[in-house]
């Protein structure tokens, strides 16, 4: 139902499209795809089959030309990206549930950014959004590869001298590596439009890379011995995808310690550190395919704003300007304000009432809530809970 309305609205909005884009030209160009998260639920996507050429217009509108091409060429990818975008939103909202800015998303509207106008500013929050979405796409694509729902996932042939072309290669040397494809695809898909020409684009690129780096660095190695009589003369190891909550937590830590950067005079080549980022992740596949210009895109070093700080590492988040105050509603920046948010009276942190309500004070109510409690989980799919009535004191910002 919602979808139909969307499509209807879209048809009306279509003629305005070029103007819309040109106005947003320099701001978050590559980030419109986030809207895919709300463009119809993932269930509504057509089933995975190579024959799908038709694309939902609502989705179509959020994607850039290159992203459309990628989606067309890799059936099944759209669903994974949408799943990833949703995962990113859920994670972001979880990580920021206790902060003044709580990662609220707007209703999906054409031409508007999903996270609101906050992304127009190069602040910490924006940095986090870019990193978490890029990480989520990497994660989700890698997951979809192991599920077999993307047919075009590549093999890790970096260690083999032969060209990765034939079915015979699979017979010869096997084919694993899901995260490599996720990494590669995320670079292609998420980084479209960020050409690294100005500082803001560099910031986006850096944060996107940081998100991906957090996914690949949290992978865990598992091994199995299967030699003679099961001994360890032959051992096969593989990488296991991390839980996305872990990635979110790590990124949140980096958010707290994000470094402010400024324009650097010389774009130092940092090819080496770049290699480390993508380490296992098929960097060489990239190397062969990309031209020099493309490769150059990730070869920059951002300079810390405060010269005493050390320059940001690959996994650090970077931002350009201080965050706006999130206390009051600010339609210009798409900030909702903290009016009506719940706060914690006893906490001295950001979720404490003093900070959350920005000194405006808060009202205290006593309510009786009916809650689930003493839950037991039953395999499968069943939670048996008691319903408890508890009196709770709720504090709400004025």
């Amino acid at each position: 139902m919602k979808l139909w309305m969307l499509i209807g609205a879209l048809a009306v909005a279509l003629p305005v499209l070029p103007a819309d884009i040109s106005r947003n030209k320099n701001r978050g160009r590559g980030s419109m795809w986030w809207g895919i998260a709300k463009a119809g639920e993932p269930n509504n996507f057509p089933p995975v089959s190579p024959a799908v050429t038709h694309m939902d217009p609502a989705i179509h509108a959020t994607l850039r030309r290159k992203q459309r091409r990628l989606a067309r060429e890799n059936p099944g990818v759209l669903m994974a990206v949408a799943r990833g975008a949703n995962q990113a939103i859920v994670e972001c909202q979880h990580q920021f549930r206790n902060r003044r800015w709580n990662c609220s998303t707007k209703n999906f509207l054409r031409g508007k950014n999903l996270f609101g106008k906050i992304v127009d500013k190069g602040c910490r929050e924006t940095a986090f959004i870019y990193a978490i979405t890029s990480a989520a796409v990497t994660h989700s694509i890698a997951r979809a590869c192991s599920e077999g729902s993307i047919q075009s996932c590549s093999c890790d042939y970096t260690h083999q001298s032969r060209a990765p072309s034939d079915v015979r290669d699979w017979e010869w040397g096997g084919c694993s590596d899901n995260i490599g494809y996720g990494f590669k695809f995320s670079r292609e898909f998420v980084d479209t439009g960020e050409r690294g020409r100005n500082l803001r684009e560099k910031m986006n690129l850096h944060n996107n890379e940081a998100g991906r780096a957090h996914v690949s660095s949290e992978m865990r190695k598992e091994c199995k011995c299967h030699g003679m009589s099961g001994s360890c003369t032959v051992k096969t190891c593989w990488m296991r995808l991390p839980n996305f909550r872990l990635v979110g937590d790590n990124l949140k830590d980096r958010f707290d310690g994000a470094s402010r950067v400024m324009v650097s005079n010389s774009d130092r080549i940092r090819g080496n550190s770049n290699m480390i980022t993508s380490n296992s992740a098929s960097n060489s596949v990239h190397g062969h395919r990309e031209g020099l210009g493309r490769k150059h895109r990730y070869n920059f070093q951002l300079k810390p704003y405060n010269p005493d700080h050390k320059s940001p590492g690959v996994k650090d988040l970077v931002y350009l300007e201080p965050s706006p105050a999130f206390c009051e509603k600010n339609p210009k920046l798409g900030i909702l304000g903290t009016h009506g948010r719940q706060c914690n009276e006893t906490s001295i942190g950001v979720d404490g009432c003093d900070l959350m309500c920005c000194g405006r004070g808060y009202k205290t109510q006593e309510v009786v809530v009916v809650e689930r409690c003493a839950c037991t989980f039953h395999w499968c799919c069943k939670v048996k809970c008691k319903l408890c009535r508890t009196k709770k004191t709720i504090h709400t910002c004025l």
Binding site: C155, W172, G174, T236, R240, N243, R245, A374
Partner: protein
């Protein structure tokens, strides 16, 4: 009188032979390192949660299969989270693993060159503060395996094996935070000794039963991951080609050797028999039976491979014992030259190998009937398996003690002999020198081979995968280790067969004055029967 070839071989010829073998050895190593891929590769498959529509929970029949790709694919359960209402019952959720998963826009299929398939399961369990799971959780799996071949319709899965298995999950969590995933150990699920069909499908259910307490303490299972490991086709090809080359060579050399032994006037000595048996064991190992798997379904290949290796190593170990024993140079021997006097030493080898064999039969033998079987899952089984392995370990220790003791004895004897050598007659001196030379040569060769094997093994374990020397040259260390060791033992036995075969070179006739010698081994020579009892290759005593 005849000695062995090695004593009569000129230094030049010997060096040519040795360098040929070394070159062969290097080639074997490089073939593994440069041409072959890693021995095995894996695919990590995430289980698709399929919805089983049967409502009454009746026993699922063998004909109903759930798969995620192709025509008639299952409808997947959208079980993002636990629901409050009883939406699904345990038997209605089927985890489907369709292997291999597609790559590069291609539906891959297993090749028979890939030989075997091993599946391990990983369970993702989410932490909830309201329900912590115990560190040792029992999980019951209803696992069914099916296969399909190219050209079959998408739905035509045929049952391969099915079993209800109980496994132990060893789960820990560092940070007890909601929505984190437990760190659970991998669970070995199945081992297929043959990869005969093109596609395989695994359906796993986690049945729940409150009365019998099945899967009740499982917590919130979010995902099942299956990692399937198969031998690489390229590795098999390289391996089989090596076998195809070594097999005829060893057979020919063995025939030549035996003809040589038969040409002697005496009956063959114990060591000569031992060499023959060792050569035969190697031939058994070399037989390229893998070719047959391309045409026939041979699920016993894993077991057979273990047995072949076991037989070979048992023979090699026994050979070393007997070789050392036969070079003791003590002439107290009525019953020398027979296996009987080595029964104590050989029983160490026998017990060790037998216990490993029984263990292997209990694991891989039973897996022939039920690929999901594992001896390690039950407590009794684990104890049994451990006791077999410990027994084998003890035998190995006893064996090593015996061997070092004997070698030490040989060396003390050698040094005693050395002291008396100048006072001996020429013939006797030649004889002892021959014995010492033969022994030392084998000692050096054996030590070299054993050290290389151990060093290679350790390097392979440390390097994990590849070693990079420069951009272009990448060495597949594990494969190089396997082909290198395989080639090395082949070369080793080849050299033994050639060098320790009886020689028919004539030695200059000397007048024997050995009768009057006053050393403690005065019983030594002159009559041919005594010669036999000396050592296997009672060499250049030249008492004609």
């Amino acid at each position: 009188m005849q000695g062995t070839i090695i004593e009569n071989l000129s230094g030049k010829k010997l060096s040519v032979l040795v360098s040929l073998l070394v070159i062969g050895q290097i080639i074997c190593f490089l073939i593994g390192g440069l041409i072959a891929p890693t021995p095995a590769s894996s695919q990590n498959i995430l289980g698709t949660q399929c919805e089983d529509i049967r409502v009454n929970g009746s026993e699922p029949g063998g004909g109903k299969w759930f798969y995620s790709r192709g025509k008639g694919a299952c409808s997947s359960v959208n079980k993002g989270n636990f629901d409050l209402d009883d939406h699904y019952l345990a038997h209605q959720v089927v985890y489907a693993f369709q292997m291999p998963i597609p790559r590069n826009n291609r539906q891959l299929d297993y090749s028979r060159w890939q030989q075997n398939l091993i599946g391990v399961l990983q369970v993702d369990i989410m932490y909830h503060s309201q329900m912590e799971i115990v560190p040792e959780t029992r999980i019951t799996l209803d696992a069914r395996l099916a296969y399909r071949n190219k050209g079959d319709p998408d739905y035509a899965w045929k049952p391969y094996a099915a079993s209800i298995e109980e496994r132990s999950l060893d789960c820990t969590i560092d940070l007890k935070t909601d929505d984190y995933i437990y760190n659970c150990s991998v669970v070995p699920l199945f081992e297929l000794g043959s990869l005969f069909h093109d596609y395989y499908l695994l359906n796993v259910r986690l049945p729940a039963d409150t009365d019998r307490n099945i899967n009740q303490g499982l917590g919130h299972v979010t995902d099942l991951w299956l990692t399937v490991i198969n031998q690489n086709g390229g590795f098999t090809k390289v391996w089989v080609s090596l076998k195809t080359i070594f097999f005829p060579i060893i057979v020919c050399v063995l025939a030549w050797y035996w003809r040589r032994v038969h040409m002697l006037s005496r009956s063959p000595a114990l060591l000569e028999y031992m060499l023959l048996v060792l050569g035969s064991a190697l031939t058994f190992l070399n037989m390229p039976l893998e070719y047959l798997t391309l045409a026939y379904d041979m699920p016993f290949m894993l077991l057979l491979g273990d047995i072949r290796q076991g037989v070979f190593y048992a023979n090699l170990l026994s050979f070393w014992l007997i070789f050392a024993g036969e070079h003791l140079m003590i002439q107290d021997s009525e019953q020398r030259n027979s296996l009987k006097c080595y029964w104590r030493h050989l029983s160490a080898v026998g017990v060790g190998c037998l216990s490993l064999f029984v263990f292997d039969m209990c694991e891989r033998g039973i897996q022939l009937r039920n690929p999901f079987y594992s001896i390690w899952v039950t407590d009794i089984g684990t104890k049994l398996a451990l006791s077999f392995i410990i027994l084998a370990g003890i035998s190995a220790g006893v064996y090593l003690m015996f061997l070092t003791y004997m070698i030490w004895k040989v060396f003390t004897n050698i040094s005693i002999k050395r002291a008396t050598l100048p006072s001996m007659s020429a013939a006797r001196r030649l004889h002892y020198e021959g014995v010492i030379y033969r022994f030392k040569f084998l000692m050096i060769a054996t030590l070299l081979c054993a050290t290389l094997t151990v060093v290679g093994f350790i390097l392979g374990q440390m390097a994990e995968g590849q070693w990079k020397w420069d951009e272009d040259l990448e060495l597949e260390v594990t494969s190089a280790f396997f082909t290198g060791v395989y080639g090395m033992w082949n070369n080793y036995i080849l050299a033994l067969l050639v060098l320790y075969a009886p020689s028919h070179k004539q030695w200059p006739i000397e007048t024997s004055d050995s009768i009057g010698e006053e050393i403690e081994f005065s019983r030594l020579p002159t009559d041919p029967n005594e010669m036999l009892s000396l050592t296997a290759f009672a060499g250049k005593t030249a008492v004609e």
